[in-house]
């Protein structure tokens, strides 16, 4: 038989990692990406990548990394894949090092490691404050090498619209749209790997990039793929509020000694410098003496939320707290954190070496995602998923610096398995369903172009973002979640009246966006309804009316299936694999 055709959708770390493994094994890959792959969202990761290399004489082990990850995720992650990831992590760091990632070094020329949240070990390798950028470039360079020798064909500027399913429900390729010519075309393949990232855009403003809409995940969810743990959304404790987006202030700022505080007196009008030490409330250090400023993200986020909204201690009465680095000398800050400090300086205008930063929690990471088995395959045969778009490595809360390793590990796992699957799968009958899928997509596009309503898609999107941020982020109430679901239903209804200001068929970005918006709306119901059903608090999911974790009822993976009905998705719950570490209470006010 001819060489199998494999499609990878998404050119961030997970997608590129999969491509490299397939190309290295002699396979051929068609790589699809909305943006040139070097501009993928992985570039935004700042702080580092975790691996228990134990180069600081602390006795760190991969078993300890595994335990921290499971514990940090509040025991919701299936343990078998997480264990494998933690065991593979040191080898992944070595590989990245060999590929030329300019990791920071010790005086002896070895890899340097910093501390990150949710662990007591120096386990995070880093390249300045631009680790994601450096890692993405290293993989991008290797893929370029395979592109030159013909193993990889890139389709940059193409957007995934849907998978092609044959009469038996087996994935036989994808339909994609050229974002310049707006051409819709079928690409056949024996296996497809989605590596399409998170869904921050559903929340309007987030720390995510513009392309992180969750549109591809939603499209295949609507075609029958399960979506798991959708309700688990990480709100990063320290983001910089902005007009166009929330910009991340990396956890490494705290890893290098940054301290979070507010004035002890509500409404204290004094400039920060005039507030003496005794009148500053270092609330994370007081509430969590063992971990201090390096408690996991969900814990830090709720603490900031509490100090602002319950204690009324936000700076100037605004929803903001100080993240202070001014006690650390300039030279150290420049060496270890320059990249992130520049971001603050550039976008806010203050120098964080001189003035404490003002930060507030912002939507950051999608723990949930497409349901996959231990082979990274969704319930649609032939359709795989890796990276942030799938659910399996972070449970109810992701630890800082675990995302980069999970993306690369997920891609490294998915690539070879997809290649093996593609070599063995029986050929498709006829066109495998390609013509039918093209027709379905063409019909959707035609409908959108001829719609004559009054709704502007960008304004509908803003309304969605406001609703989701209000009801489905840090604190969740069932009443609010129900309101949010009703609002989404209203928006879905109004979507039928969307009228495009631009109906041309050349580089029409609002047309592409409107298609994404529909998928965002469908996926937002999975998030809201999943949160509604889960009457407990676990990791990032927190309900004041149900403040405790309830393992008896909810130590389960949430699985949503698309129904097309007005009530929304159908939910079922699946047992979590806890065969290695017995669930125990999770607390950070003392050593675990």
């Amino acid at each position: 038989m001819a060489a199998p055709r494999i499609i990878v959708v998404g050119g961030g770390l997970a997608g590129l990692a999969a491509v490299i493994k397939i190309a290295e094994a002699g396979g051929h890959v068609d790589l699809f990406s909305i943006v040139p792959v070097k501009r993928s969202h992985s570039v935004c990761a700042q702080g580092g990548i975790n691996a228990a290399k134990n180069l600081k004489g602390e006795g760190d082990t991969t078993a300890q990394h595994f335990d921290d990850t499971i514990y940090g995720g509040d025991f919701l992650a299936n343990q078998t894949p997480v264990k494998a990831m933690c065991e593979a992590a040191p080898g992944i760091i070595d590989l990245l090092d060999r590929m030329g990632v300019p990791f920071n070094r010790t005086p002896e020329g070895l890899l340097d490691f910093r501390r990150f949240g949710g662990t007591l070990y120096h386990r995070t390798a880093f390249a300045g404050a631009t680790t994601g950028q450096q890692l993405l470039y290293a993989l991008d360079e290797q893929v370029r090498r395979y592109e030159v020798d013909g193993h990889v064909h890139k389709y940059e500027g193409w957007e995934f619209l849907s998978s092609i399913l044959d009469s038996k429900g087996v994935c036989r390729g994808i339909v994609a749209m050229n974002l310049r010519t707006m051409e819709v075309r079928a690409f056949q393949a024996e296996a497809v790997i989605l590596a399409t990232g998170g869904n921050g855009a559903i929340f309007g403003k987030s720390t995510n990039s513009v392309v992180c809409t969750g549109s591809a995940q939603s499209a295949v969810f609507q075609q029958g793929a399960y979506y798991a743990n959708g309700e688990f959304i990480q709100v990063h404790p320290t983001s910089i509020p902005g007009e166009d987006k929330l910009r991340l202030m990396s956890e490494s700022a705290r890893g290098e000694g940054g301290r979070v505080w507010v004035p002890r007196t509500p409404g204290d009008k004094r400039p920060w410098k005039q507030i003496p030490e005794a009148e500053r409330f270092y609330f994370l250090e007081e509430w969590y003496p063992k971990y201090g400023n390096l408690v996991p993200r969900d814990v830090a986020t709720r603490a900031i939320h509490k100090v602002v909204y319950e204690h009324g201690l936000g700076i100037d009465g605004q929803p903001m707290v100080y993240l202070d680095l001014t006690h650390i000398d300039r030279e150290t800050l420049n060496r270890k954190l320059e990249g992130i400090l520049e971001i603050y300086e550039k976008f806010v205008g203050d120098d964080p070496r001189e003035v404490p930063m003002k930060i507030f929690p912002g939507m950051h990471y999608t723990m949930g995602g497409l349901w996959v088995d231990n082979n990274q395959m969704t319930n649609i045969p032939g359709l795989f998923a890796a990276g942030e778009c799938e659910y399996q490595y972070h449970g109810a809360n992701r630890l800082g610096a675990n995302s980069l390793v999970s993306c690369i590990f997920g891609g490294f796992t998915a690539g070879p398995i997809a290649l093996k699957y593609a070599k063995n799968v029986a050929g498709a009958e006829g066109d495998g369903g390609a013509a039918a899928e093209i027709a379905r997509q063409a019909e959707m596009n035609a409908q959108l172009l001829k719609n004559e309503g009054k709704e502007n898609p960008f304004r509908l999107w803003r309304e969605l973002g406001v609703t989701m941020t209000e009801h489905a982020t840090v604190i969740r109430y069932n009443k609010g979640l129900k309101q949010a679901d009703e609002k989404i239903v209203e928006l879905l209804d109004r979507f039928q009246n969307v009228s495009l200001a631009d109906r041309t068929q050349w580089a029409n970005t609002s047309f592409a966006f409107t298609r994404q918006l529909y998928n965002m709306l469908e996926l937002s119901r999975v998030i809201v309804q999943g949160a509604l059903l889960r009457d407990e608090s676990r990791g990032a999911h927190y309900k004041p009316d149900f403040p405790d974790r309830n393992d008896e009822k909810f130590l389960k993976t949430t699985k949503a299936a698309f129904t097309g009905a007005t009530e929304g998705p159908r939910f079922e719950f699946e047992d979590v694999d806890t065969q290695f570490i017995k669930p125990r209470p999770r607390r950070y006010d003392a050593a675990k």
């Binding site: 969202h41 080898g91 060999r98 030329g100 390249a127 360079e141 166009d244 502007n456 970005t509 609002s510």
Partner: protein
Amino acid sequence: MAKTVKFEIKRQAGPDSPAVWENFELEWRQGMNVISAMMEIAANPVTSDGKPTTPITYDSNCLEEICGSCAMRINGKARMACSALVDNLEQPIKVEPLSKFPLVRDLQVDRSVLFENLMRVKAWVPVDGTYDLGSGPRVFPQQQEANYPLSNCISCTCCMEVCPQFNEATGFVGAATIAQVKLFNNHPTGKVFKEERLRALAGDGGIQECGYAQNCVEACPKQIPLTNAISDVGRDVVVQKIKDFLRG
């Protein structure tokens, strides 16, 4: 209307369509940047004289000046739109596409030439494979600190846009690619291709096209020491040429 911000944006429906300027007047907001203004226009696509128009086509992604997407000319200067804060700009704020690259639509241009150049100079470290081969070569902090800035290049192409030599007549490769040659030639494993990279920069369109205008280093949003890279690589190219000549 409260305090407003005025924009003049160059529109062009396609590569062969005529260019027209459209004016917009938007409500001022704290922390507003050029990107948030274009988002506002998309949500309310009406010009300042009340004429309905279309949302503006432009490239953007991270909005943190790290993905390199949103390069454009703002008040005549090539820069990233995400970090262009409205309060720091003279009004009306004039926004145009980069001028040295094929136009797609409005502010969107095709910059794939840079990625092609990176292929030509083999801008990668040729690892044996992705299987476990132990740790990489030792690198002292001093060397890491020298290489790291070069590795920060976001491929925005601002350095190429502002370079007087970067044009069809010279076919000049541009500063970004030359800096990557320096980066990979410095790497303990990457330097195995050093000679090939230098030869790729030796001919027409190569490093000798540089006219030392030094615009590149000023335009670079990442403050990459581009002129140092050009002089270092330029010297290496000359040495390589002599070696190749003597070897016959």
